[in-house]
Symmetry: C2
Subunit: 201 residues, 2 copies
DNA sequence: GTCTATATTTGGATAGAC
DNA sequence: GTCTATCCAAATATAGAC
């Protein structure tokens, strides 16, 4: 139960993930899950005795692992900060399929999703923000600024996925991700009010 | 059919909105809608012969009107730009109930929602971005920069609502909205690279 | 482990009385 | 306009053969 081990199980969970991502927890029927997986409903229940809820948890665990490997892990290497952020951006771009894939955070965070799933989601978001903050702190920002930028980044990624989906265009997401590494390392905004050309220190 | 006229109808639609916002389109059953409205299912069908889909459209139309009045309208007054943005932020804060209310854009933009509903959503998001861009353009930004900031703002609001909901905290949303007016009018970022610790061109 | 077939419950939607 | 009662389809879940 911790997680599937065979290769075919990974493919299976990917199929379930695709279905859930598209229509959410309640919006995805067992018939759709079965058809997406290429299995009969009874076969799904053999692998996931806990039914739909257990399938959602397996999907969440698998995508969480994949996200950790593709997006978080690059942040923890010994490369230069700008290089780490660039690799994180690359990982995000492929993980979300250039904005075509919804994030489970948006999809599974509503009340229609079983509590255990939402609880793990909460922890995952917190870890994501923490990892980013750590990386920005290493890059020279003080704790406060690093935390602020980390949370703002997660917010923007989620928002860009929503807007891209709502508009039916990948651009809002791809544009955001492409600019992320540069924006994240940009010097703090000049906080006093003054007009746009005369910068100081 | 265009829209309900009596006062009690407005309350009714608000109840339906609360239910849909909580669990999404597929996640909200007619039993829940009826109980939320304090009516029997058959009574709902009397008001909305088109069933659940028509209820969702009515909710969308009503919330769209409310959003236009509370968030968009303040942008079109003759007040100073900073004042208009402050009023928009106030409107957003109350419209989203300090982050406790989900936005229909996140909730209704997935495939499980009927196409007509999603189509109008798309138009609404586009109008929102356009109105903001117009306002920023009036404030002195060139078209490109105004459009960029407008889209980024909508992205951030959507993302902050998602993150707030996922974490179960209002702060990410409230913090964002409080800082919005100032950030929106801040001078463009210094685009030349320069170190925060040891960066290079 | 996977299938077909079926049980059981819930969901969306109507009929018809008041 | 709202109710109770009911229909029908779909959804979740299980039984049992292979």
């Amino acid at each position: 139960m911790p997680r599937p081990q065979s290769l075919s199980d990974e493919r299976l969970v990917d199929s379930l993930a695709a279905a859930f991502r598209l229509s959410g927890y309640e919006g995805t029927s067992l018939a759709e899950l079965a058809s997406s997986a290429g299995l009969a409903k009874a076969a799904l229940y053999h692998r996931f005795p806990g039914g739909k809820a257990e399938m959602a948890e397996a999907v969440e665990a698998a995508l969480g692992d994949e996200f950790a490997a593709r997006v978080i892990a690059p942040l923890t290497t010994t490369a230069a900060a700008s290089e780490r952020l660039r690799q994180m951006a690359d990982g995000m771009m492929s993980f979300y399929a250039e904005g075509r894939h919804a994030c489970l955070v948006e999809i599974f965070s509503i009340a229609a999703t079983p509590e255990p799933v939402r609880e793990r989601l909460r922890a995952g978001v917190a870890r994501w923000i923490a990892a980013l903050a750590k990386s920005l702190s290493d890059a020279g920002f003080d704790e406060t600024e690093a935390g602020r930028r980390a949370e703002d980044t997660v917010i923007r990624v989620q928002g860009a996925l929503v807007v891209s989906r709502a508009l039916g265009e990948r651009r809002p997401f791809t544009e955001l991700v492409e600019n992320l590494p540069e924006q994240l390392l940009a010097p703090p905004a000049v906080d006093r009010n003054h007009r746009s050309s005369g910068e100081r220190q």
